[in-house]
Symmetry: C2
């Protein structure tokens, strides 16, 4: 089967999994539930749950029931971060993925609450994973430990020393001249941290050895960095139409990016060299997942 | 020792516990860490962690190390909800506890992120509880289960079907005529849910039987309701000075409250009758904690 078909098959499956954890739009506080579902069903690429699933498969994970809630949770966290980032007080974006952003559609108060709701639902969903474990099985203790470790990774990589920290640096960098090292630091938190969480959790739930979880974390950090630099490049070389959001937004918002500190060709070389490092680390592992390699290649060379 | 002295002793201890989990104000993204600490050290009454601790003691809990992270977590969640509620797009409040609100002090973007940061830190902090359990002890499996059950309670009671749902109803009720039943529904979510989480987690971590956890949940719901009605009353009968925030704010914001649908004396009777019901449920339990009873009495008859 071609990579594209495999990707579609997985996307379909992942959307199905996520949908299973979304709230029913009913009751007194229906509006916020609609806003949450509006945001998360906006047609995202589901990169994070996909990386989680593929890393899980890389390490021959079997307990899918325990993994699924974490796959939904990571996408909820990614979605909440977009909803809050788009707010007027933050990036003030009106369109995303070709649709109105949540605050434009539902108002600012509801967008703040929908973001809070998605973040909290992520932890509620992940917290339900333990109910899928048979407490009388001989490895219950070990799987409980994996779940709690995964829970901690999920929270810490999303938090102030992870994704939120990156968002803060992003705001503080506006209008400033920054070094490549400064940009890397921001990207590793803003984008890298959640990719790290995705792949680490896949490995942890599958029962990977600690040393491999560490290697996966490093590979994920590189993927996050390359992915974000590719984002910078696309903001300059793509069109609004293809990207589903306005291009040249970084320049307009006076945000330093890779293409503001070096030319596009040099930025592409950086992506290639970071990807190369990640691939080498992967090749040193005693495990294989061909689809994961193709997925990563696609992510860092994507056109939208 | 007098109740007031006991209360101060506990407050001191609880502040100490919370402080131990707060982030150091350093690094590239220092601003958000400052804003988080600014919000949580604003001199709150620490009602939720105190109720958690006292319910834990009621059920003769011993594993304090496991409880402490949850005590800090519940206060972080309460604090984040205040930071976001105060935002211009929400209640647009400029003062709280006699100090400028977070967005007035740090700007709107940073207040949104500080709220997100506190919410995420709450789950990260609680997630660390399992590291305090000796996995070789004979009851490790049982304590792991308590911890995961407590995570789920923490997340679900804070979420869209809990506190956030209440906040949404609050917004949607502005300017409307509502019934007492409608108000109760809002209060049980907006205020009740987090009080329920506090007391349920105290009971769960202590190892209380399921039937007692259910009774505690009902008692907590009543305390939350009575507490919130008392809040309505204070908004009318107190002064800005004593309350540390502007009084008559509900009327100004066109929010329906108990004192907008009935007179103050009748509202006080409602508080008394709800409290009475909670006390009866407590008296039917085969456990005692005299301080808990005094604390609850203080909460529902407080002057600020």
């Amino acid at each position: 089967m071609s990579f594209k078909l495999e990707l579609e098959k997985r996307l379909y499956r992942i959307n199905d999994i996520i949908t299973g954890y979304l709230p029913k739009e009913e009751g007194y506080y229906k509006t916020v539930l609609e806003a949450m579902n509006y945001s998360i069903t906006a047609g995202g690429k589901r990169i994070r749950p996909m990386l989680m699933l593929e890393t899980f498969c890389l390490f021959n994970g079997r307990n899918y029931d325990v993994l699924y809630p974490f796959m939904a949770a990571i996408e909820m966290i990614h979605t909440y971060s977009l909803v809050h980032d788009d707010l007027p007080a933050m990036d003030n974006d009106e369109y995303r993925r070709g649709r109105k952003t949540t605050h434009v559609e539902y108002g600012e108060a509801m967008a703040i609450l929908a973001g809070d709701g998605l973040l909290t639902l992520a932890f509620e969903t992940a917290a339900g994973a333990y109910e899928k474990v048979d407490e009388n099985s001989k490895d219950a203790l070990s799987i409980y430990k994996r779940i709690m470790r995964a829970y901690k990774v999920l929270a810490s990589k999303s938090g102030v020393h992870g994704m939120i920290g990156g968002q803060v640096i992003d705001i503080e960098f506006v209008g400033k001249t920054v070094t490549q090292e400064g940009l890397d630091r921001m990207y590793l938190l803003k984008t890298g941290a959640l990719i790290e969480a995705s792949m680490m959790i896949g490995a942890i739930i599958a029962g990977a050895e600690d040393e491999y979880v560490d290697i996966i974390r490093d590979i994920a950090a590189d993927i996050g960095l390359a992915f974000q630099i590719r984002d910078d490049i696309l903001d300059v070389i793509s069109s609004d139409n293809i990207l589903g959001k306005p291009t040249h937004s970084d320049e307009k918002n006076d945000k330093p990016t890779y293409v503001s500190i070096m030319d596009v060709e040099k930025a592409k070389e950086e992506v290639a060299s970071i990807t190369d490092r990640a691939k080498k680390a992967y090749e040193a592992l005693p495990y294989r997942n061909e689809f994961l390699v193709e997925l990563i290649t696609e992510l860092i060379s994507r056109e939208k």
